[in-house]
Amino acid sequence: MAKASAEAAAVVRVRIPSPLRSYTGGDDEVTVAIPLLAPENPPSLTAVLAALEGRFRGLRFRIVDEQGRLRPHIRLFVGGTLATDLGAPVPSGSEVMIVAALSGG
């Protein structure tokens, strides 16, 4: 069985929008490391969100519902590209941006 190590971890920078900064102690950017079982398989957004939840309990449920669906007014960008699926790969060193999409008046 493959063993994760500090060397085999994807490091991802996550930009946090203001509605979620109560969870990050006010930080607008945090870094998470996700263990990699195989270097050629980058983690998914799902894994990034799990890592965020591990550090900031309660954050994930505010942006992903209990069925694993992104909430209607949340968008996620990976490396500047809108992700349409939580299975989207997040290469090590990339940036995830959580956007609380503009809506309503």
Binding site: G58, I63, E66, Q67, I74, A100
Partner: protein, 380 residues
Amino acid sequence: MPRARTRPAATPARPVTLYVATRKGLWTLTSDPARRGFKLAGPHFLGHIVHHVVLDPRDGRTLLAAARTGHLGPTVFRSSDRGRRWVEASQPPAFKSGSGRAVDHTFWLTPGHASSPGVWYAGTSPQGLFRSDDGGATWAGVDGFNEHPQRKAWCSGDQDGTPDGAKLHSIIVDPRDPAHIYMGMSSGGVFESSDAGASWRPLNKGIRADFLPEPAPEYGHDPHCLRFAGGNPDRLYQQNHCGIYRLDRPGEVWIEIGTGMPKSVGSVGFPMVAHPREADTLWVFPMDGTDVWPRVAPNGKPAAYRSLDGGRTWRRQDEGFPASQAWWTVKRQAMTVDAREPAGVYFGTTSGEVWGSRDEGRTWRCLARHLPHIYAVEAA
């Protein structure tokens, strides 16, 4: 057979605190002992959509707040010191993974029975029933309802199209029996459990459902608000989409009691409150339910209506209100009573005003204005 009743005593002359939940946060209004002056404080959770805030009557200090924001999912905040510090629930109400359903917001909070400290119930949109056994820190679905094979039929499907989302509300626990619970659903109707939520049955006989093809269905009705009569939990009052009703248990058939309301006002509204001690006394706050359902004060002239005889007759109470051109209304959790003698009656409006009466509705004063759209007012 009707069970024994106990008549609650009036609370002594101490300050009253109103918890005012709004579309943009939570405020409090605290009175002097005579209830002449009220001081506004807040906001807490500025910018959060707060649907309900309730003080635990069992300890007098635990507060729960049901909140979400425009962007973020729903949660519950808890305070154990009457609102000075708040902590988020570690496991807010959420449907089971794989059920396909997601809580949009927690709409209603009810403390459990006096003999069950730490127990709370929550009703959500879409319709779901949840229970906490640890003072609101963690919540689990009440499977007897959420997983009931008839649940989808009772709720007219998973998304029944009610404006602002379908609601499970008015969870009320029999003060004589923690296992005996009623609740209402908009839409769905009134349901009763005698086994702490393990099983449920519809309780809607006699209620009109004019908006459905079948005018007298077993379920599918639209109760707006359900209350126990003061001092008599064998009597229920209901403000429904189709009128005002009373049910005296162990009877099974609701009696329509809104027919005595003036025709120009009608018997449609969201809230109703019962006197804390007098079983025949209740208040409603009518709204315009004609045509396209404007849901504002009928003719722009707001008024409460009080009955002193269990709904046989009604008297208008509007002294102090604007006489015309006032187009607000009152949501279903936004009207409440205190336990003082005489009872205080309070409500919050869709236009952000809080009104109160310390003489059981004879005269009204505006206690606060310029707040956001008010969803709920609770007195403690």
